[in-house]
Symmetry: C2
Subunit: 116 residues, 2 copies
């Protein structure tokens, strides 16, 4: 197993959450995500979040959240808050919603600018 570029987790991290959401539930999902994200944005270590929506309704992952945090530890503390846990449970147990979330922490390992 080669892990020479596996990131260490020290320093700033990127939270990427890849969502599978039924197209007819997209509006409700986005509204509820925004509520959670607004709360997240009050937490220590939060830098920014951008929610992306697919141009095509055929795309497998309709929504992708890319969010930056000061550290993995700051993010861990935020999602451990009872307030956030309650929100997540509410979504998970809502029979009207079929949402699969794939959240994970990442670090940038390559960056490119335009070249000629």
């Amino acid at each position: 197993m080669s892990t020479s570029t596996q990131p260490s987790g020290d320093g700033p991290v990127t939270l990427i959450n890849v969502f599978e959401v039924a197209v007819d539930q997209a509006e409700t999902f986005l509204e509820q995500w925004r509520k959670r994200a607004e709360w997240m944005s009050t937490q220590p270590g939060f830098r920014d979040a951008v929610m992306h929506r697919a141009l095509s309704s055929e795309t497998r992952f309709q929504f992708v959240n890319v969010s930056h945090w000061d550290s993995a530890e700051a993010h861990r503390q935020a999602i451990a808050q009872p307030e956030f846990q309650a929100e997540v449970r509410a979504v998970a147990h809502d029979p009207r919603q079929r949402v699969a979330a794939n959240p994970a922490l990442y670090q940038a390992v390559a960056q490119l600018e335009p070249s000629s």
Copy 2:
């Protein structure tokens, strides 16, 4: 079907490519991706690309590329180039590589900054 916030596709777009890659192939994959990305960065309309790698080797999607383009059309023209198509075929037909790519175009539909 509610599509009121489905992005229109006009203007700048974000290409997000979510990769499933065997952990023991991560280095080779990253090296080859970088070669393709360097070529991409010479194409008209390319703005930037950041490749993210998961902090944990247990993460389902080990790599996520987030790349910005001037327009969906500029991106379409870049990936239609024979040079790029040949690269993609080479990876797809390489029996040593087991890579599942999920590329799609997105637009930002929500953006948050820190608040208190």
